[in-house]
Symmetry: C2
Subunit: 486 residues, 2 copies
Amino acid sequence: MKNKVQLIAYIDRFGKKGIAEFHAFLSDHLKDHFEGGIHLLPFYNTIDGADAGYDPKDHTQVDPRLGDWEDIKKLSDEFDLMADLIVNHISSDSREFQDVKMHGHNSQYFDLFLTKEKVFPKGASESLIKKIYRPRPNLPFTTIKVGQDEEYDFWTTFTSDQIDIDVLHQKGSAYISQILKTFSLNGIKSIRLDAAGYAIKKPETSCFMIPETYDFIGEFSSKARAMGIDVLVEIHTHYKHQIEIASKVDYVYDFALPPLILHTIAKKSGTQLKNWLEISPRNCVTVLDTHDGIGIVDIAKQDDNPGLLSDEEVDYLVESIHKNSNNTSRIASGEGGSNLDIYQVNCSFYEALGKNSTHYLIARAIQFFCPGIPQVYYGGFLAAANDLKLLGTTKVGRDINRPYLEFDEVLQMLESSVVKDLSKLIKFRNTHPSFGGNFSVLPTSDDQIKLRWDLNDEWSELNIDLLKSNFEINYSMQEVESLLIF
Amino acid sequence: MKNKVQLIAYIDRFGKKGIAEFHAFLSDHLKDHFEGGIHLLPFYNTIDGADAGYDPKDHTQVDPRLGDWEDIKKLSDEFDLMADLIVNHISSDSREFQDVKMHGHNSQYFDLFLTKEKVFPKGASESLIKKIYRPRPNLPFTTIKVGQDEEYDFWTTFTSDQIDIDVLHQKGSAYISQILKTFSLNGIKSIRLDAAGYAIKKPETSCFMIPETYDFIGEFSSKARAMGIDVLVEIHTHYKHQIEIASKVDYVYDFALPPLILHTIAKKSGTQLKNWLEISPRNCVTVLDTHDGIGIVDIAKQDDNPGLLSDEEVDYLVESIHKNSNNTSRIASGEGGSNLDIYQVNCSFYEALGKNSTHYLIARAIQFFCPGIPQVYYGGFLAAANDLKLLGTTKVGRDINRPYLEFDEVLQMLESSVVKDLSKLIKFRNTHPSFGGNFSVLPTSDDQIKLRWDLNDEWSELNIDLLKSNFEINYSMQEVESLLIF
């Protein structure tokens, strides 16, 4: 991956057209912005299942309403592309599961799917089930009648429409290989491995990020690397696990960064952020916002392991988001609102900062100065507000930050002063050579932050005064030294 | 009931204290406002079950956190009181149902409750079940294990924690009599018969407002009347049924009025409202807002019967509420948000009008000039906004319009200009003698409304110009003729 800013977008929500139109728009208007490429959110058949594309019926087919693989290939000629590989599950409407429904255990696809019995051949006691780590407050099984009077408890980690795949079975492995091969043939350069932490189930364990999961991710990464594809592993977990995972894979997300930045701005205190930057993984992708909510497990304590923030600080942070968003994030988060992950706060990042443009630019400046390849979600790029209309229509909590925008609306949003200032920051991050060098956190008081990059004679420095809520960026220029002030 | 303005309030949400403090506050500050008395929302044991007091554990006991019957009796010395009688169901935590859980069909309370088998002794086919009219998109039964390995499908019209009562059985009848007697002994002058439309179940019917339901309500009303208690029947239904029900009971709600007023203001068109006032029941209680949402079935078509508004007008109305409330009502309404009734829009009335004070005062003026005894919900009286914080915490859609307010907050809200103007209107409605006389809708163009009351030489007239969004009230005074302009 290039060390430049990437866009994260749904093709059908950013412009509401197909791949070709999306391509033309980016080419015409945003080529200088997203030199790092694009993380395309799921575009497989179909994009409108139970989980906005994350429950494909056919992972190797482009949703025909968007276009085809030829369009993806053309887009990849101009932008480096990252795509999601969903290893954990597949839609219950998939051809494969429909075949199981018809033929039961005689289906050729029966072993593609995971049942409770396969994991617990001797039966599962309540205490065994309770050990399983859950993103949702219910059981991970759905009883489904298949074939001639057969009935199985299928593993359904997320929703009952998403049937978990037995990734350790040869059928599961072949399924994943087929997707990788399709990606490789069609110009996909990196993969985001979705919900990988849940892929491996084993009795007596939490079934989440157990040693066997690391092995699985490692093997998967080798397979991908052999095809010239990078792997970004998506896992929300305690920060120590994230550091451990980072040591074993190509890239992880720095999911601690978004809540820590919110904490820094809300409390006008930079100490916890600076502490994190001393130990955070360097082989990371940074985000402030994604199509999911703002992660809380990533900075909270887990059992006896302290988190990056104390319980009180976490509470204060979550309450400050709710307050800044006029409580709309409270409605969209937690139990209710069809939330797949109750440990996330659903809110646009701009609203999480109370639509304060200076705070928002400070947050983005911190992101761009932190180690890692910066990704910017289309909603955040356009400083979108919470989409109460969509939330009200779908009742899906995460839709509060997944707006459908016509290209006309996008063009209008590009004209706002906060987006213009953010664009300046993005272009600076893309072009200044210092970001290829060494990173340092300069010593400052709690209410100041100074982040610096050095590459030979080139340097750049971000100075933030949290009390005064302002920041400046100083940097070397080939001819003169200059100053960018917001 | 007196023909004066009544307050509707939860004791625990209006002031957040007990009955005695509630009493003292009303006595000190609002005695001139609510000369008609108070409809006390459920104050039984307990007020915080699955449905904000509408699922009592013991209907004949005051929740001890609020006080006791002695406090209610004292309050009734100063204000006429209306209380809810919940005939359809009782909490699954009630002593009675707990006894059934313990002893199964041997419990002395077994026949107090309705099971599927009692209604469908020969079994219920899917086509029979589909005939049942539902306020929610699911089945009206909950399978519960009781006694020694017994299992029954109990009727649960609303939530699975609210077990329906067999009102036709002697046990059910005795249960209701006991409540009536308690009310009568403690100064309750009127009863609001909650969800009465669902009380009678019969195979091959919709189990909603069937002829047997009318009989039941009639018999219940006679029983109450014999104890000196008026009955207000709460039913949301097609306007023609409402007119039919009105002819058989003491009082009904004019539930068509709130959506028609919103339509009138949104479309600047008074024709439909004036048409309704030609045929609307006169023995009614008027409301704009209640603890429930804004009813839509009351003005919509039903099967082949046209409604008071066309489908397009209903859509426009609902969309205008969502737009005025910045889509917060969309989030709180429909399927999702634990809504008990998907045919209602959950929104404060003030927000349904976009917090436009003039529009709000026009709406109240129309209410007060329409036939019927006007009730004002505490949220509407205080021009409360949608409570996104409470909604976000509880995820109960109707909580958007059920704020918890300290007395200090109430006092502050009383100082706002819109509440001061509303108070003027309320006092005018309470004191002008014309409202005891004859009502007429004067002929005007579509964008004007003129409502008039005459009693001997006393008269009052409301003139509204919908295009200019203004209104005036002219009225006779004992000495001089005067003008009240907003």
